[in-house]
């Protein structure tokens, strides 16, 4: 009980180090969501609308990749970006950029797989109507993505939730450097192992509160825009 009280006090006092950590976590995870959406949504829609040999296997693989362990992604990106790795010359290991890359890779399958399912279901409903209007393949993709926009918000939230909550990937490629690559999750892990439970608890509460408010904002946007456009 006393631990929780100290955690709330930390938040209420507005500790600048705490805010820097919160800001970095949000910047990294939101950037990853934007990048993963740009890649994953067209990919999912394409997979939903095309038929080719081996497609079912690809769908199963994509669904399985939703459960990709963050530490494995972190390790793979670490190997790519480390000095001796193929992209080592870029010198971005242990930077927020590397963290964005790792989280993007982690959540592209989530957004792509959920988009694939959503778009495929909608296509079953729209197929006749769009075929009768002679809509081009590219037009079908954009129409279905746009008309599925309210459902696709759930895919984005799932991606964001995954990115904001993971610790393994950002820890490995970011290095948890104080004031530079320390995020809420890596800080919680570190403070817990140091025995600084009030700070760990405070950070944990802030993280949960932020995820909750982003979901609430997304819900509000959905309700409002559905009322506007049906």
């Amino acid at each position: 009980m006393s631990d929780e009280l100290s955690a709330w006090q930390l938040i209420l006092n507005g500790d600048p180090a705490l805010f820097a950590i919160v800001r970095l976590s949000l910047a990294v995870s939101l950037s990853a969501v934007v990048l993963a959406a740009l890649a994953g949504m067209p990919l999912g829609a394409l997979l939903a609308l095309t038929r080719f040999p081996g497609r079912s296997m690809l769908v199963v693989l994509l669904n399985a990749l939703m459960g990709l362990p963050p530490v494995v992604v972190g390790l793979a990106v670490y190997l790519l970006l480390s000095r001796s790795g193929p992209l080592g010359a870029m010198g971005i290991l242990f930077t927020p950029t590397a963290m964005v890359i790792a989280q993007t890779i982690l959540i592209v399958p989530i957004i792509a797989a959920l988009t694939r399912q959503t778009v495929e279901d909608l296509w079953a409903e729209y197929r006749d109507e769009l075929t009768a209007m002679d809509v081009s393949p590219a037009g079908r993709m954009t129409t279905l993505l746009w008309d599925a926009r309210f459902s696709l918000m759930t895919a984005l939230l799932a991606g964001f939730g995954r990115a904001a909550a993971e610790v393994g990937a950002v820890m490995i490629v970011g290095g948890n450097i104080d004031g530079f690559t320390r995020t809420m999750t890596t800080a919680v892990a570190l403070e817990t192992s140091k025995g600084n439970l009030p700070l760990a608890m405070g950070l944990g509460l802030v993280l949960v509160a932020i995820v909750l408010s982003i979901n609430a904002a997304a819900w509000g946007t959905r309700v409002w825009s559905e009322r506007q456009a049906g």
């Binding site: 729209y126 006749d128 109507e129 002679d134 809509v135 129409t143 008309d147 926009r149 456009a229 049906g230």
Partner: protein, 240 residues
């Protein structure tokens, strides 16, 4: 602005369609030329919807061939279809019409004017900015008509568009269909409502079990059917 090629005459030449072991359409030949509305009449399950889907190019025959203006290419040029339950795009009524106009390659500069004209034509001008999915069944059917008319069709296929509407909404939809017919659009409409056939039809195609049973002028079909099946159907007997 007329497209260079035409979708008429629409010719079905000895067309059959099988789904597994079931024969849905059986060696059916039909030529559709410009003129008064053609109503496709028959009991449920007689193949009316499938016939319309073949006419639209949405289904392919298992045997026989379909051609549009002499072409076998199923790409819709100047034809449109109204489904029994049309899908409303998740946008406003006006945006639904705008979408159809864009797909029909209407010039951007003409779109606003045509959206207003089409919505006026189907009596939805006041609901232009309402989300399409919030409209009533009759309003949705009229919006789907506006979308179909946006393609500037020569031939409009309709699959029992009033089957789930109340009489007032049915009248609204029928008035638009008659107006379209008067403006020179060939109407091909499936119906199993004999009152509707009497109100709209120029001629009738009567289907039984996927085959063409009787064909002719509406008045002749309704008052002097030549086949036993047609006479039974008109009497209100079940034709199986």
């Amino acid at each position: 602005m007329r497209a260079p090629s035409s979708d008429l005459p629409l010719v079905l030449d000895n067309v059959s369609l099988q789904a597994g072991a079931t024969t849905i359409l059986d060696r059916l030949s039909l030529t559709i030329t410009p003129g008064t509305p053609t109503l496709i009449v028959g009991p449920n399950g007689s193949g009316k919807t499938t016939l319309l889907r073949l006419c639209m190019g949405l289904a392919l025959p298992s045997a026989g061939r379909v051609s549009w203006g002499g072409r076998a290419d199923s790409k819709p040029v100047r034809r449109a279809i109204l489904f029994q339950r049309p899908v409303m795009l998740r946008r406003t009524a006006a945006a639904n019409v705008a979408y159809a106009l864009a797909q029909a390659r209407t010039r951007r500069s003409q779109r606003a004017e045509r959206i207003a004209a089409l919505l006026q034509r189907v009596g939805l001008a006041d609901l232009a900015h309402r989300p399409a999915r919030k409209l009533s069944g009759g309003e949705q059917q009229r919006l789907a008509l506006a979308r179909a008319l946006a393609r500037d069709p020569e031939i409009l296929l309709l699959d029992e568009p009033t089957a789930s509407l109340d009489p007032a909404a049915t009248r609204g939809v029928e008035e638009i269909i008659l107006m379209a017919a008067q403006s020179g659009i060939k109407i091909v409409m499936a119906s199993h409502d004999l009152g509707q056939v009497r109100r709209l039809a120029g001629d009738v195609v009567f289907l039984v079990r996927g085959g063409l049973c009787e064909q002719g002028k509406a008045a002749d079909f309704l008052d002097h059917p030549t086949t036993r099946e047609a006479a039974a159907f008109l009497r209100g007997d079940l034709v199986i």
